[in-house]
């Protein structure tokens, strides 16, 4: 059990993490993933997964409603852009806070139940948000089309300082454009900060008690702890993480649509977390990166690209290879995703982090027994 690590160790770990994140444009280039949109998605969904992990990884409460907070964050941020300023700071702050408010309300209701009943409550409330945003709340959400920035928006604060332009303005951080690499670095800094907070939570008595909730809530009750406020705080924190992620989505691409509140979007977050390893520090981020990579890179393969890849083979073999692999990429990328979920859960129940730990443990047999948590301890079984 390595919940307690020396603060120096933690700072080093966060330093390495920061380095890895900030150099993503370089080391992802050979994988064809070093372009602003995907880089932004990597860090934003990283934040989302880190936040989700605080709830699900630590307390074991499986929420199917976090996409609603993502949506609330996005809508709030876009409204800030429309009404006040294209500067991203107020948008991010208000987006996060609004998601927090929603999380307090939804959390208060849902946390009255546990287990699958909690899951279904979160699912039900989030689906209600989605369905209403899509139809009845169209004046606020612009429904199916999604909330967009228009040249005619008031933007009260900007109007006081800037010349009006004919074109649709872009989001900025005091003049730095936030839709390209600037946005990526902005989000990356947010990811590093939120990761740092998550490490602090993992290492704190609060985090320990959350783990205790996951492990045995009954015992905790007889140990003098009222679990409800702990759960609510964890729920709200992770809801605010989701709101932050949602507002960053709006920062890097100022359009908010209802579909990001759908249950499938929540499901994707759950999958990211479990895939990487729930309850581990890095696992959820890794899971988020892998799923986003698949979604963006595998879906873009087409027969032409496959023929290029297999062009080293003789013609007949080439067409066979292309024929087979075409089932798994392009329009078949969902199949790959489904198979990947199954294989990972079957063979690496603790997620990818467990896989790394096993490999490291095998490489260092002498130390394996005493220091099993090589990359990171898997806390839950």
């Amino acid at each position: 059990m390595m919940i307690t690590r020396s603060p120096r160790h933690d700072m080093m770990m966060i330093g390495v993490f920061a380095l890895v994140v900030l150099t993503m444009p370089i080391w992802l280039a050979p994988f064809g993933a070093a372009y602003p949109d995907l880089l932004q998605k990597f860090v934003i969904f990283g934040i989302m997964a880190v936040g989700y992990n605080i709830l699900f990884g630590l307390t074991g409460y499986l929420s199917f409603g976090h996409a609603a907070f993502l949506g609330v964050g996005s809508y709030s941020a876009v409204w800030m852009f429309k009404l006040f300023t294209m500067n991203v700071i107020p948008a991010v702050i208000i987006g996060t806070l609004m998601a927090g408010v929603f999380a307090v309300v939804i959390g208060y209701v849902c946390l009255r139940r546990s287990g699958i009943y909690f899951s279904i409550l979160t699912l039900a409330l989030a689906q209600m948000c989605y369905n209403l945003a899509y139809s009845v709340l169209t004046p606020i959400t612009n429904g199916e089309t999604g909330l967009q920035i228009r040249p005619t928006d008031p933007r009260i604060i900007d109007a006081m300082f800037l010349e009006p332009t004919e074109r649709v303005p872009t989001t900025t951080l005091f003049g730095i454009d936030m839709t390209g690499y600037g946005g990526f670095y902005f989000c990356a800094v947010a990811l590093i900060i939120t990761f740092f907070i998550s490490v602090r939570i993992f290492r704190s008595p609060f985090g320990l008690k959350l783990r205790a909730i996951k492990s045995n809530q009954n015992r905790l009750n007889y140990t003098g702890i009222n679990t409800r406020p702990y759960l609510l705080i964890a729920f709200v924190i992770s809801g605010m993480y989701a709101g932050l992620a949602g507002s960053l989505l709006a920062v890097t691409d100022p359009l908010a649509g209802a579909e990001r509140m759908q249950w499938t979007a929540s499901g994707e977050i759950v999958l990211m977390t479990i895939l990487g390893g729930a309850g581990t520090l890095f696992g959820p981020i890794l899971g988020a990166w892998i799923i986003k990579y698949f979604e963006n890179i595998f879906s873009a393969f087409n027969d032409g690209r496959l023929h290029e890849i297999f062009s080293f083979l003789p013609d007949t073999l080439e067409s066979i290879a292309v024929g087979i692999s075409a089932q798994f990429v392009g329009e078949g990328w969902h199949l790959t995703l489904g198979l990947m979920f199954m294989l990972i859960v079957i063979f690496l129940p603790g997620g990818l982090i467990e896989g790394f730990n096993r490999i490291v443990a095998r490489l260092r047999p002498g130390q394996a027994r005493r220091r099993a948590p090589a990359v990171e301890e898997k806390e839950a079984s």
Binding site: V109, G338, L339, F341, M342
Partner: protein, 338 residues
Amino acid sequence: MDAFVLQVLNGLDKGGAYALIALGLTLVFGTLGVVNFAHGALFMLGAFCAVTFNLLLNLSERVEDPNITAFTAYIDQPYLETWLGDFGTQLMDYSVPLSILFTIPVMLAIGLAMERGLIRFFYKRSHAEQILVTFGLAIVLQEIIKSFFGANPIPVSAPDTFVGTAAIGSLIGLGEGVAYPYWRLIYLAFSIVVIAAVFSFLRFTTYGMVVRAGMADRETVGLLGINIQRRFTVVFGLAAIVAGLAGALYTPILPPDYHMGMDFLVLSFVVVVVGGMGSLGGAVAAGFLLGILQSFASMNEVKDLFPGIDQIIIYLVAVVVLLLRPRGLMGRKGVMET
């Protein structure tokens, strides 16, 4: 009054489908302790059993068209018609009801294969892992169907005899306006029969009694030296058959496509939870209840009062029920709460 009766019928019909899907889901959960996110996919596979069966019946050979003599034209002549004449045509017309005979063995095989090949390794694993693996399986099954049948819905028609509506209004002393499609009435009757069959299987056969005992207290029954494992495998097959039949006979109502399972998945979970996890009676009651409520919420009079209510009614009911009755309508204490 007419509108009211029709909406009750709509609700019962919808509820029949919900109940059938939820029944299998809760049966698997109650006996095996597995949260099966691939259950919606079983419903979808059932629908495609009907489609496949229809294709099989329509297998044809290419023959020259005797009516056109100006040039050589071809028409497709189904083998069944060649071999059996009018009776063959009749068989083809009845492909959906007949597909029951095809669906049951196929779904049983699929269910057994799923349980033996995958699910049984997940009895002791956490619910989150069960969800992930079965969700993965659902995607895989769905994509396989997509690669064979495409993404477009496939029209399936009910037998000619059952096309059209029954004037039940005049039967029960209401106006002519109360007419209801034959096939939907058949579906409602069919769902009630299947539900009754499952219940009597569980209640009146020793096999079923063991299963029910296992649902109540798995360890004890295991200690009695009964091979509960094998029986549970059969339960999974049974659940697959029920879901498959629900899907197969639903095809004339809803043209099936590869994605239909996912659409019913969330809904069936809501039904199961509202009914109470692991409660068979609860699942059936909740299925019909939600079906009827959904129908009423869609009425113009209701929608005028609460705009958008039909969009959220199912979820709203779920929230209210769970807050008032912590374990659903008929749930037992301690199930799925950790």
